[in-house]
Symmetry: C2
Subunit: 173 residues, 2 copies
C-alpha cells in the first residue's frame, strides 16, 4: 500500500529534507550543461516515503544513494526540466516553503524558466547561468569554502548573486 | 509576524528535521535522571520557524545550538515531561509521523508515560529505563558504534530492545 501524503506534509518534509540543486555538467566530449535537481534522501527503512513522493508528483526516480555495512541510503530525484515546469514548480508556487529552501526553490525555478526559454543557447547568458550555479553551490553545500573567506569576499559574492538574481527574475519574498 | 504553521507541515518537518531523544543525566552529586526531549535545529536565518513551533505548541524554548564564524545554529527544544504529556504526545498521536521518527516518538512517549506513573522510583524499572535510553541512543545517533558491531551483536541488541519495547508498551505499527 502506498503511503498517503498530504500537500502540507510534503512541504514540511521538503523544507526539512529536500535539496534543490543547480549543477554544471562538463562532459569530456561535448558542451557543458546546466542540470537542476530536487533530491530527497532517506535510509532504506523509510524508502516508502520516497516512492510516495514519486507517485504523488508522477515523476523522478528512486535509486541508491550510499551504501555501507548496516544501512543503505536511497534517494528520490527529479532532474527533468520539463517535470520541474509541469509538476514541481506549480506545486511549490502554490504550497510555499517556509525556510531558506524557499529561496533555493526560487533560484532553481528561474534557471528552469531560462532553460525553457533557451537562454543557454546564448553564450553570454549561458556564462551567467554557469556563474549562478557556482554561486548557488558556494552558498549551499560548499560551506567549508565560505568559512575560509573573509567578510569582504563573502559580501562580494553576495552582491554578485544579487545582480544575477535580478538578471534571472528570482522572486525574493 | 509569526509564521503560520499547518499541522501537516509540522508533521512533515518533524519527520525531516526533528529529533526525539532519551538521555540519562548523571549529575556529580545526586541520582541519575531520565531526560526526554524533542529538538529541532535550524540555521539562525530560519529561526522564525522555531519560534512558530514554540508558539504553536506553547512550550519549549529557542536557544543557541552551535556557533561559528559565518553561521549560527538555533534550536527549539521541549524537555518537560508534563509538556510532552499535555502537548507533544497528543499532537503526534493525532497526526502520525510517516518515517522511522514514528517509532522514535512511540519510545519517547512510553518513557514519558512511565515517568508519569512514577516507574523511575522503582530501582528495577529505573534500570530498565536506563537501558532503554542506552539502546535508543545506539540505534539513533551512535551509528559509528553500530558500524563496528558484528551482525550477531546487532541482532542481540535488537532482541533486547524488542523485550524492552514490550515492557514499556511501545506501540509498533
Amino acid at each position: 500500500m502506498t503511503t498517503h501524503l498530504e500537500v502540507q506534509w510534503i512541504t514540511g518534509f521538503v523544507d526539512g529534507e529536500g535539496c534543490f540543486s543547480i549543477e554544471v555538467n562538463k562532459p569530456k566530449n561535448g558542451n557543458p550543461q546546466i542540470q537542476v535537481a530536487l533530491t530527497v534522501v532517506q535510509n532504506q527503512t523509510d524508502e516508502q516515503v520516497l516512492y510516495a513522493l514519486k507517485d504523488y508528483f508522477g515523476c523522478g526516480s528512486v535509486t541508491d544513494n550510499k551504501k555501507d555495512d548496516y544501512e543503505k541510503r536511497r534517494m528520490w530525484r527529479v532532474k527533468s526540466v520539463q517535470h520541474f515546469i509541469e509538476k514541481i514548480i506549480p506545486f511549490f508556487e502554490k504550497h510555499k516553503l517556509k525556510t531558506k529552501r524557499r529561496i533555493e526553490f526560487q533560484r532553481v525555478r528561474s534557471i528552469c524558466l531560462a532553460l525553457e526559454r533557451g537562454d543557454h543557447k546564448d553564450p553570454i547568458k549561458f556564462e551567467k547561468m554557469q556563474r549562478m550555479a557556482e554561486l548557488y553551490r558556494i552558498g549551499g553545500t560548499m560551506t567549508r569554502k565560505l568559512k575560509r573567506m573573509s567578510t569582504e569576499e563573502r559580501n562580494k559574492l553576495k552582491d554578485e548573486l544579487t545582480v544575477l538574481d535580478k538578471e534571472f527574475n528570482v522572486i525574493i519574498e
